[in-house]
């Protein structure tokens, strides 16, 4: 066997996450429940957020505050975030009550929790860069909170340039990377079964 790091990485990947697991066409019978839908709904919402966010980044506030199309895309971005959080919270509740960290799935659970925190940071900076009176109000309320815990010098919520760069560059990369790892962990370990799942339902079905 080759000692190249590429070969080692390939072998490790193929052992842990073969293509059949990465792109399955079968799922266990217990996945046929609406509560299992909210993970992929959250992913769908984040796709819409990124899609509308890229358009907003290219066109800029002078466009999305004035033109009808710009206002529509701005609203699409905003309401996709609202749906993203609703779906993610229901996904979190579902996974919490079925103790989704069971079966060596702690990393799946932990990456989901970190993604939730990163989402809050991303949404918060998003509220701060709306460039309207709402964002002005939120930033001036929030600065007192951040200053009171001593981080205002590094994370200055009234600094539009810093908040904008965090919102459109740094945080989406972090959140995107965590989300990819989270989904890969789901594919590696499989979707968690309900606590009282009958062994007969754990088989794969079309």
């Amino acid at each position: 066997m080759s000692e190249m790091w590429t070969a080692k990485l390939r072998n490790k990947w193929q052992k842990n996450l073969p293509i059949e697991k990465l792109l399955p066409d079968d799922q266990p019978a217990y996945v046929a429940s609406w509560i299992y839908v909210f993970g992929v709904l959250t992913l769908s919402a984040i796709v819409m957020i990124i899609f509308s966010g890229v358009i907003l980044a290219f066109e800029g506030p002078a466009w999305y505050h004035t033109s009808d199309t710009g206002k529509f895309v701005n609203s699409l971005h905003f309401w996709s975030v609202q749906l993203f959080f609703i779906f993610m919270v229901i996904h979190l509740w579902g996974k919490f009550w079925m103790a989704a960290w069971r079966g060596k799935r702690f990393a799946t659970w932990a990456t989901g929790a970190v993604a939730f925190i990163a989402s809050i940071a991303t949404a918060f900076t998003g509220y701060l860069v709306q460039t309207n009176f709402d964002s002005q109000w939120i930033s001036f309320e929030a600065k007192d909170g951040f200053n009171s815990v001593g981080v205002g010098a590094w994370f200055s919520v009234t600094n539009l340039g810093q908040m904008l760069l965090l919102h459109v560059a740094f945080l989406p990369i972090i959140l995107g990377a965590i989300t990819v790892v989270h989904v890969l962990m789901v594919r590696k370990r499989g979707v968690v079964p309900p606590i009282d799942a009958e062994p007969s339902t754990l088989s794969e079905v079309k």
């Binding site: 019978a29 996945v31 046929a32 429940s33 609406w34 509560i35 839908v37 909210f38 609703i86 919270v89 229901i90 509740w93 579902g94 079905v205 079309k206």
Partner: protein, 55 residues
């Protein structure tokens, strides 16, 4: 923005207060909406095709 939705949105939030607890009507609505969707997702059966297989 015009119409009833503009009238609904263009005023300060209404807050409910009970002792230490304070919450806006909007936030309470969103929490109740999520709880409702969660409950429905648990109790509503997932659709099956005519052969009884899961869709």
């Amino acid at each position: 923005m015009t119409g009833w939705f503009a009238d609904f949105m263009n005023h300060p939030a209404t807050y409910l207060k009970s002792g230490w607890l304070q919450i806006s009507v909007t936030n309470l609505f969103v929490i109740l909406l999520m709880l409702t969707i969660f409950t429905l997702a648990v109790v509503i059966p997932f659709p099956k095709d005519k052969d009884g297989h899961n869709k």
